[in-house]
Symmetry: C2
Subunit: 406 residues, 2 copies
């Protein structure tokens, strides 16, 4: 056939650098003389079955570079999780358009779609090269050291907690910040990288990798408040009890008057508010405040890791190179080769598809409410250059005149 | 007396640049040979009556510069609003420590405190120079073109909405972002500076300067959604009905099961959640999400306007110069003298104290849900240099093969 056509699409939640991978694919593909057209599908797999394509070959490299530096999915995204029939539809469209190479930028659901489409093509004897290009702020893809998109979101969370800690030190009280991540706590754990001085928050970190116990939580908060006169807490939206029931729904049931009866984890402030109410009900602390970082942590423009940008670009470029020079379908993975350097490899789709990575035990402190130095060492280089740093006044007290020191 | 002692304190909500004013005061004061000591009070007026002072004369200029670039109030802050008796206490402590110059960095409550302390000193015949140094993210001080702290918070809000708009374009639906500002809508209006293309959000902006009507709101959202297939909304936490009742409490009452019965405006996600529920209840839109920007908008480290930094520094320096070379107490104000340049003047404390500025009518569009070009022209230079910019792919559709275009 040799149509010279490739297709790229973006799926799932947008990230700060997903357009770097898009630009990496589009610009790298143009360098191959057998590639005549680079199509993009609008809104992921939905755009494929709807045949809603744009021709990226007619886009300037200048604008592709500008788009690469813009957060969110420039082609649009989708939450569709294709089943077998849906994947069959996708394949039919790809065949009709004589697509030779299919690149899907997304998380583990997307990798599963790529896996099934690859099987469909194989069954039909149609020569289609299918490559999954990783992205997710949750960092929950197996087989990779980390996933493009996570470092920038982690940087946002670290900067947010560094600032929240300063605010809480100025006006002491309890502060609860709820972070995205239903099963994997990497993003919540990133809050620890906002700490500089030993007294800094977050003083407590609650991850979905550990069972959440409300009594233990309240007792942790009370102890921290007694020690520092304040308490900054990072909480994953995915915290759950021993049975796996989300804490947000449990708390909502406990509280009689309940606007959060049917609790959705993201896109509302329920968990933060409910935890704050639990703290207020138990402790005599005047100032208890909760923030849900919500969509800001993945969409805020102007908070990005340059390491993440570079890697997301390379992941896209490597995807094209694996497709062109290799002989098999797969998922591009990042392997750490130094402190700090990486290399890329192509994993079999079966190794990645539909699986979920959670935080390794070595990254979680024995207390269950902090991270280890191993995690700090793991995450710090990913956050990139130019991390803002907090400074404070050095103590130099003045003697009292009117009153005896308390 | 000629003790050569000055005292500086920080009050109210922290900002990204309040430490610039602190450093401006401390470093400028050191240049005067009659100033021997620069004291800082910990946690605002509370630290004065508690005699909790630190000696900033023993701080290095290097570290003061680093602290200047750190958000939040380095001396600590307070929410105390002193009455006459409290102010009398403040004055007694200042006199006991032979303080000659008192600088209080804060909003309109703080300016009122400075006014009363100034009167106390005058009544007692004690030679105290009292200067109010302005800061507030709400931009609600009268007599100033704008207030230090507002530009950086406005930049955060503009960047947040620029990102939220991209996210909403990738995964279409309704997005509600709730912004701080109880009486003045400046910060919420700043969301408009996140727009680049005509189709960009925020498509609707709700300010406390206009009466909020839920029916009108739902009808605005429906019309916008019908037009763009999505809708991004900026809402001030201070929106209220014609009688002045906060919408958050009204909505909480309407919804039978209510975790938000006693609604506090800041520090929880109630208003965003309640508005989202109202939209979902009325319209058949699957994706309705709400974020409350909360403390991030004033505390996030790494999002600051360089213009704001510069001006906050100068406001501190000018405060010392007005105190040293002038002969009266007052509040430092920013006057705009060009596009873009400013000068500083000392207003009488009575002109500023306890008053609240709201958005001028000329800044609000006739629709009541948008800002005018006059506001864009007013705000843009304040946001500073290096504002991140969003780019998008230019449309270049590919002809369908299998299906007729819908």
């Amino acid at each position: 056939m040799a149509s010279g056509k490739i297709l790229v699409a973006q799926g799932g939640g947008p990230t700060a650098v997903i357009n770097q991978s898009l630009a990496g694919i589009a610009l790298e593909a143009r360098r191959f003389r057998n590639v005549e057209r680079v199509y993009g599908a609008r809104h992921g797999v939905r755009g494929i079955v709807d045949e809603d394509f744009v021709d990226l070959s007619q886009e300037t490299s200048h604008n592709l570079e500008q788009v690469a530096n813009t957060p969110s999915s420039a082609l649009g995204s989708t939450r569709d999780k294709p089943d077998l029939q849906y994947c069959h539809e996708i394949f039919q469209v790809l065949r009709a358009h004589e697509i030779e190479h299919f690149f899907y930028i997304g998380g583990n659901d997307s990798s599963d779609t790529v896996r099934i489409v690859s099987q469909e093509a194989h069954k039909a004897g149609y020569p289609l090269r299918c490559i999954h290009v990783p992205k997710t702020i949750d960092n929950d893809l197996v087989g990779s050291d980390h996933t493009p998109g996570f470092p920038s979101a982690a940087r946002f969370v670290a900067q947010a907690f560094a600032g929240a800690n300063l605010d809480n030190a100025a006006l002491p009280g309890v502060y609860v910040g709820v972070v995205m991540g239903r099963h994997a706590g990497f993003l919540t754990a990133a809050s620890a990288l906002g700490k500089k001085f030993p007294e800094d928050g977050p003083h407590l970190i609650y991850l979905p990798e550990r069972v959440f116990d409300l009594e233990q939580f309240l007792s942790d908060v009370a102890a921290t408040y007694a020690r520092f006169g304040r308490c900054v807490i990072a909480v994953s939206e995915g915290i759950h009890d021993a049975a796996g029931t989300p804490i947000a729904s449990l708390l909502a049931q406990e509280i009689e008057h309940d606007a959060h009866g049917n609790v959705q984890l993201s896109g509302n402030g329920a968990l933060a508010d409910l935890l704050c109410e639990a703290i207020k009900a138990r402790m005599k602390i005047k100032r208890v405040r909760g923030d849900t970082f919500g969509y800001l942590q993945r969409s805020f423009i102007g908070c990005v890791s340059d390491v993440d940008q570079r890697e997301a670009r390379e992941v896209g470029e490597k995807a094209v190179q694996f497709a062109m020079w290799g002989s098999r379908d797969g998922s591009v993975a990042i392997r750490r080769t130094g402190f700090y350097s990486v290399d890329y490899q192509l994993l079999a789709l079966e190794e990645v598809a539909g699986k979920t990575r959670v935080m390794e035990d070595a990254f979680i402190a024995a207390s269950g409410t902090d991270v280890t130095d191993a995690f700090r060492l793991y995450l710090r280089p990913l956050l990139g250059s130019g991390m803002p740093e907090a400074f404070r006044l050095r103590p130099s007290p003045v003697a009292r005149i009117r009153t005896a020191p308390g």
